[in-house]
Structures are given as structure tokens and as C-alpha cells.
């Protein structure tokens, strides 16, 4: 009888340990995505969203307030980005602008939001109308090189 109780205690301890570990993994060692967000989703259309992926952070003044849910193509060939704001208490005015920025020169893309001054705020499924696309580094370099080339050409012609 005593042997059996000891065995049951062992099994109980084992199951309990696994349960506690599961709790730990759920609450601390992973993003608790099973807990429904109390936030809301707004949309923004960008002409160019190269390098922006789902789960990229959304920031106001450098503080993370949510993440990009998805990036999709619209019929008018723009990138429609779903922005999930984590908390309802983060209220965004209607004339908010969204920009795609880069962390460092070659770092990860994120969405920076600059709140406007309007009295009314964006609701769930609303759209941020004023957007500013991210720059593509390759285009900038190409433009720079072209400018450099034409300048030196001009210089060459003026010297003659």
C-alpha cells in the first residue's frame, strides 16, 4: 500500500512538473498569442513596402506599440499593411501618418507612426490615409551614382 502511494506521488510530481513547465513556456518563454489581444487593427497602404514582414514592430517615438499582422497586395498594386495595435488605450488620431523606417542602415524594417492632432481617433478596421513608403537603398545608391556620373560629365564638358 505504501509502495503504491509513493508511486502515485511520483507520477503526480512528474505530471505537475510538466504542467508547471507548460505554464512557464506559455507565460514567460514565448509570446502568449493564445491570449486574445484587446487591441485593434488598422490598415495602411504603401507604394513600396520592400523588406517589411509580418511581425515587424510598430513604433511611436521608438516605443513598440504593436506589430505588423500581414502585408498584402491591393488591386491597384499597392502594399496593404495590416497594423495590429496591442492595446486599446493607444489611441491614434485620424490624421496620423505612417512611415516605413529602417533600424540602422541595413537593419530590419519597421513601421513608425506619427500621431496627428485630430480630435477623433482611428477605430478598428480604419485606414491610415497619409503614408510614406520606405526608401530602397539600392535605388538611392543608383540615383547617387547617376547624379555623380552626370556631374562629372558636365564638369568634363565645361572644362573644354
Amino acid at each position: 500500500m505504501k509502495e503504491n502511494r509513493l508511486l502515485n506521488a511520483g507520477v503526480g510530481a512528474f505530471v505537475l512538473l510538466a504542467a508547471v513547465s507548460m505554464m512557464f513556456l506559455a507565460f514567460f518563454a514565448s509570446t502568449p498569442d493564445w491570449r486574445g489581444y484587446d487591441g485593434y487593427t488598422v490598415y495602411a497602404k504603401f507604394d513600396e513596402a520592400a523588406g517589411l514582414r509580418a511581425r515587424a514592430p510598430i513604433r511611436i517615438a521608438g516605443v513598440r506599440i504593436g506589430e505588423v499582422e500581414s502585408v498584402e497586395l491591393t488591386p491597384s498594386y499597392q502594399a496593404k499593411v495590416a497594423l495590429r495595435i496591442d492595446s486599446k488605450s493607444t489611441e491614434l488620431p485620424l490624421d496620423t501618418t505612417a512611415h516605413i523606417f529602417t533600424e540602422g542602415l541595413l537593419g530590419v524594417r519597421y513601421v513608425a507612426i506619427f500621431p496627428g492632432y485630430d480630435e477623433s481617433t482611428l477605430k478598428h478596421d480604419d485606414e491610415i490615409l497619409q503614408t510614406n513608403s520606405g526608401f530602397v537603398l539600392e535605388n538611392l545608391i543608383a540615383q547617387f551614382l547617376i547624379n555623380l556620373g552626370s556631374e562629372s560629365l558636365n564638369k568634363g564638358s565645361s572644362d573644354e
Binding site: L7, V11, A18, S21, M22, L25, A29, S30
Partner: protein, 252 residues
């Protein structure tokens, strides 16, 4: 041709046996008692080796990952790298391989030993359903134990990786947790490993019981059963792991 036919026969036997084991759902109190007993013999006794293995694997992954990440200046992502690979792949697979070594071989040799000693015939004479009393409890105990052990493995690996990052690699705890939480989702990554380990437990139990039951009832047959359990269960686990990752890797 004859060999192929033989293979098919064995495969069919294995499927038939799986159904008769699953059909023998316990109905009496003794059967449930046996289940708890076998969770103790299989799960608890394997816990120590799983925890130690998890700790060392977590440590070595963060050490090795750090040396490669630091070249790209991304050493702050070490927590995410470690946890992602452990939750999704290493946790279930390594736990299952250890479990095969520790329990699969034990179960196969136990089954074939019972066959040699004609204990199943004995039970039949006593009108006791061997599937209910002997096979189903062992099967269920394994299916329950493997996922639980996988969770323990994951926890042990993450904590030991945290220790290494904190004391040996000068990555602060905050940075570690930050990247870890950013890269792993509970319902996607942790549960992916969980479902995987459930499937692995099922496969281990099936292979071990079938090999043990179908062994030739003599000493060399028993040795063969033990060996082929370890070999075929390990290969099956690795193969199924690839299939599950390829099919459900992105959505689960």
C-alpha cells in the same frame, strides 16, 4: 518477391495489432492502476536523463549559436535562435530518441520475454484479456509520457541556455528573454513541438510493442526484437519529423 510479400504481411500484422491494442480500452480499476504504474516506470525514470540532456543541448546550442551570430553582430538574437530550434525540432526529436533508447528497448525485451515464458498463454488460460491488462496500459503510458518529457526537456534547455548566456557569454537576461519572446509564439511553435511529440510517442509505443510481440520466442529473437525496435523507431521518428515539418511547418 517473396521478401516483399513477407514485408507486407508484417506491416498488416502491425496495423491489426495496433487496432486490437486501441480497441482494448481499459474498463476495470486494475487497468487504470497499471497505466499510472507504467507512467512511473517510463516517464519518471526517464525524466532525469531528459533533464540532463536538455540542459547540455541548450547550453551547447547557445554557445555555438553565439559564435556564429556574433560575426553578424546579431548576438542579441541568441535567445530566439535557441528557443526556436529547441521548441520546434530538438525538443521532440531528442526526447523521443532518448526515450527509445531508455524505454523502447525495455518494452520490446519485456514483451518478448513474456512471450518466451508463455505468460500470454497463461493469461489466456485465466481468461484475462492480455491486451487490456498488459498492452494498452503500456501503450497509453508511453503516449502520455513522451509529450510531458518533451515539455520538461524544453524548459530545461531554455533555462540552461539562459544560464550560459548570463554567465559565460555576457548576454543580459533582458535581451535573452526579449528575443526569445519575440521569435517564439506559444500556439505556433511550442504547440508544434507538442503535437509532434504526441505523434512520436504513438509511433514509439506501436513499434516497440509490435516488435516485442512478434519476436521469435527464443533468446536470439529477443535480442533481435530489441535491436530492431531501436533502429526502426529511431529512423521512423526522423522520417516522420521531416514529413510533419514539411506539411505543417508553416501553419502549426
Amino acid at each position: 518477391m517473396h521478401k516483399l510479400f513477407d514485408r507486407c504481411v508484417r506491416m498488416g500484422e502491425a496495423v491489426a495489432m495496433l487496432f486490437s491494442v486501441l480497441y482494448a480500452f481499459p474498463r476495470r480499476r486494475e487497468h487504470f492502476k497499471t497505466i499510472v504504474q507504467h507512467i512511473y516506470f517510463y516517464g519518471n525514470k526517464t525524466m532525469m536523463i531528459v533533464i540532463v540532456a536538455g540542459a547540455f543541448i541548450g547550453m551547447v546550442i547557445s554557445l555555438q549559436g553565439y559564435t556564429s551570430l556574433v560575426r553578424f553582430g546579431a548576438e542579441s538574437e541568441i535567445g530566439g535562435l535557441t528557443a526556436y530550434s529547441i521548441y520546434r525540432e530538438l525538443g521532440p526529436v531528442v526526447t523521443s530518441l532518448l526515450f527509445i533508447g531508455r524505454v523502447g528497448s525495455l518494452l520490446a525485451s519485456e514483451m518478448s520475454m513474456m512471450n518466451i515464458n508463455q505468460q500470454f498463454t497463461c493469461l489466456k488460460m485465466l481468461a484475462i484479456n492480455a491486451y487490456q491488462l498488459v498492452l494498452f496500459p503500456r501503450f497509453l503510458a508511453i503516449v502520455i509520457s513522451v509529450p510531458l518529457l518533451t515539455i520538461v526537456f524544453c524548459l530545461s534547455a531554455v533555462l540552461s541556455s539562459l544560464m550560459v548566456c548570463k554567465f559565460a557569454l555576457a548576454v543580459s537576461t533582458g535581451i535573452f528573454w526579449n528575443s526569445l519572446e519575440y521569435y517564439t509564439l506559444f500556439t505556433v511553435d511550442v504547440m508544434h513541438g507538442f503535437w509532434k511529440s504526441l505523434a512520436f510517442g504513438f509511433v514509439i509505443a506501436w513499434v516497440a510493442i509490435y516488435q516485442g510481440m512478434s519476436a521469435v520466442p527464443n533468446r536470439s529473437g529477443m535480442a533481435k526484437a530489441t535491436t530492431s525496435t531501436v533502429v526502426s523507431a529511431s529512423l521512423l521518428i526522423l522520417g516522420i519529423d521531416y514529413v510533419i515539418t514539411a506539411l505543417f511547418g508553416s501553419m502549426l
